[in-house]
Amino acid sequence: MLIEFDKVTYLYPGTEKRIFSDLTIRMERPGFHALFGPSGVGKTSFARLLTGALNGYDGQIRLAKVGTPLYSYNLERLPDWSSVGKHLEKITPDAAIQRRDQLVEIFGVEACLGSRFSHLSLGQQNRINLIRYLVQDFRLLIMDESLGNVDELTRERILLHVKAMFPDVLFLYISHNVVEVAKFCDQILVFRGARKTPQTMMVTGQNHCLEGQLDPQGLQRTMLEIMNAS
Amino acid sequence: AETINYRLKWLYNMSVAGDLYALEEGFFRDEGLDVDVKAGGPERDAIKELELGYAKFGVASADQVIRARAKGAHVVVLAQLFQINPLQWIYRPDVVTLNSLADLRGQTIGVTFGGNDETIMKTLLAMGQIAEKEVELFSVRYDYTPFYQRKVHIWPVYRNSQGIFVGQKLRDAGEPVGVFNPEAHGVKFVANSVVTSEKVLANEPDLVRSFMRALLKGWGRAFDPANADKTIAIVKKFDKDTDLGVIAEQYRVTRGLVHPDPNIPIGTIDPDGWQQTERIMVAQGVVAKPVAILSHLKQH
């Protein structure tokens, strides 16, 4: 597995501000990793470069053994012509039916399955949307605030179980919650803006898992590291 | 001077040669008149324009005049431009023989429902004692495809304009052409005439007189064989889309309709014709009752 940015420079057409300037990054192992950094620093742009939704950059972006990268974000919608339960059924490959039912339970959205998407609360919408991606056959999934508007308890449960269910894939989790990122993520890629050197720093998180013990001091340390980096 | 609008019945072509001749040769100007000769068209009605004040003179067919009188319009006829109605039927003599009315029996005949030709054809049928179900009346539109495709063998045309185009095409294709003229079978149905309103006639008799003088002079000169080339040139000037050869042919045919008898001056109103027209229209139920048409003919 490989994600490699090699001296990537990017600016949006028609603008002058570089989002990235000779950015070089390498991530190689599966796991639950994070993209972190202040609002507007370029996390979404990074994800879109990675999936090929943005083009026209200088430098090289290399992906290997990650299949088609998936990108989910928190403004996505499901068509409203049938209930979200029906939609989920439709897009779940046969092999993943069981996984879907598990996810629905973990995500706490059983009660929503009979409703149309537009009749759900924002947090419910985001959870349903994320399940759609998780039942696909994927090796790399970017979650851009995909758990936005979800309460912390539920979020924690979701993260722990998702990590346990998908040990072999590569997640890139975008969130602004330092504690969460420090606690659950493995590698944390902190974006600092194109004008700082280095532009990014890699912090190692606590990677807390379902049947692991959390080290409160380690968490504090990681959080500090992240704060210092950004 | 005030511009006098003169609304024709149809587009500029040989059927209005006299009007154009008068205009081009300055006959109106000589009378001190500034006349605008306006083209007509299918959606135009000179009689309505007289009433609305859009025109002072116009050309209308006899049936229009009679219909209008029946509905209270104060229209009067000043001259009759065609002595023989150009509305006739064209046919292929190699397919049908039309020597007498009886020959119509069993034929498919084109008529424009609601138009003059319907009235005329129905009169012909009545005269020939042919019941309507003994023929098939085919609804005619503005294109000739059914006739060309030989679905309908007898097709109404204006003898002096469409008749020439269509005849030419058939002849080019090596097919003979025949023309069926209702008048030859006793149906006189008056065609284009010059009209004005009673008000203009009463209030501006001098204007009417000088206008008609100029106009009839135009018609007279236009169809004097000596001026044939000039007339053809003038018509060509207004009717650019028609070939000179066709126009020449139209001239020849039109002359026979406008001035068939050297003893009858161009523009002469034929009271018998008008009376018969009125009778036919009443008989066919086009108007409910006679309109005393003779009293509205004011020969100039």
């Binding site: 999936t51 088609t68 998936l70 990108y71 989910s72 974000y73 403004l75 996505e76 919608r77 499901l78 068509p79 409203d80 012509w81 049938s82 897009i91 149309r116 949307n129 759609r132 991606y133 696909q136 | 959606e43 009605d45 009689i47 309505k48 009433e51 609305l52 004040g53 229009q64 219909r67 209008a68 509905k71 209270g72 319009a73 104060h74 424009t112 429902f113 609601g114 138009g115 609804s139 539109r141 294109d143 495809t145 059914p146 495709q149 086009v286």
Partner: protein, 249 residues
């Protein structure tokens, strides 16, 4: 809603008639130019039955023509939404056909199709489909990223799904246009009959025109208008129904 449409139509019709009568009496015009109320009424009584029959006949063709147009518009709209060469070619073709006034095309249509029911249908459809096409094209060529993203990135997007998504999101616009196009189907059929047919209210209007009988035309317009008000009211109701139905399927 339906009866509101009807009495609104009546108001409009009466307004129109009043203007005409106003012109008539202020300019002192004869019945030949503008018929008086008595003459309109009499004509109405005389031709009502046969005209109503004609209008129904016309409506029948219009409905079929409209359905046909809707299919055609969706077909062309769906093909033409693509930015490919073929898509734009289809669009150019569809536009061009529209540019030609039907009167100019009619002779060619007669040659190819004769003058039966199909000609009438084709002309009605040609007049009616274009506005539909424009709307369908507009709707179909605008992506709805937030919904389509998932299907696209997981390789699930088929053209049927794309069409369904865009249609559903623009259902309000589409039903507005479809029920509005009923008007055009009717107008188209009347024109077709006027040019081509031997039946229907368009044919009767043509005869009335030849007879220079404005009363008959006014009666025909009344019947066309009221029929259309009812038909369109029904369509709108159906539109609401479809929207609700699809949303609750």
């Amino acid at each position: 809603m339906l009866h509101r449409r009807i009495y609104q139509f009546l108001i409009i019709y009466l307004l129109g008639i009043s203007v005409l009568l106003g012109v008539k009496y202020s300019l002192n015009l004869s019945d030949y130019v503008i018929p008086g109320p008595g003459s309109i009424w009499q004509t109405g009584a005389a031709v009502f039955d046969s005209y109503l029959h004609d209008v129904m006949n016309t409506l029948g063709v219009a409905v079929v023509g409209q359905v046909f147009s809707i299919c055609l518009a969706f077909l062309v709209g769906i093909i033409g939404r693509q930015t490919t060469w073929f898509g734009s070619f289809i669009k150019v073709a569809a536009y061009n056909v529209q540019a030609y006034p039907i009167v100019a095309l009619a002779p060619i249509i007669f040659i190819l199709l004769g003058d039966g029911f199909f000609t009438r249908l084709l002309i009605a459809a040609m007049i009616c489909y274009f506005p539909l096409l424009l709307s369908v094209l507009g709707v179909m060529s605008e992506p709805i990223t937030d919904i389509e993203h998932f299907y696209r990135s997981t390789g699930r997007m088929r053209w049927q799904l794309e069409v369904k998504i865009r249609a559903f999101e623009n259902l309000q616009k589409l039903t507005t246009v479809i029920s509005g196009s009923a008007t055009l189907a009717m107008a188209g059929t009347i024109v077709a009959e006027f040019i081509a047919a031997n039946a229907g209210i368009g044919y009767s209007i043509r005869i009335a025109l030849y007879q220079s009988d404005l009363s008959k035309i006014l009666v025909a317009l009344f019947l066309v208008g009221i029929t259309l008000a009812v038909y369109q009211g029904l369509l709108e109701w159906l539109g609401v129904f479809v929207r609700r139905g699809w949303a609750a399927a």
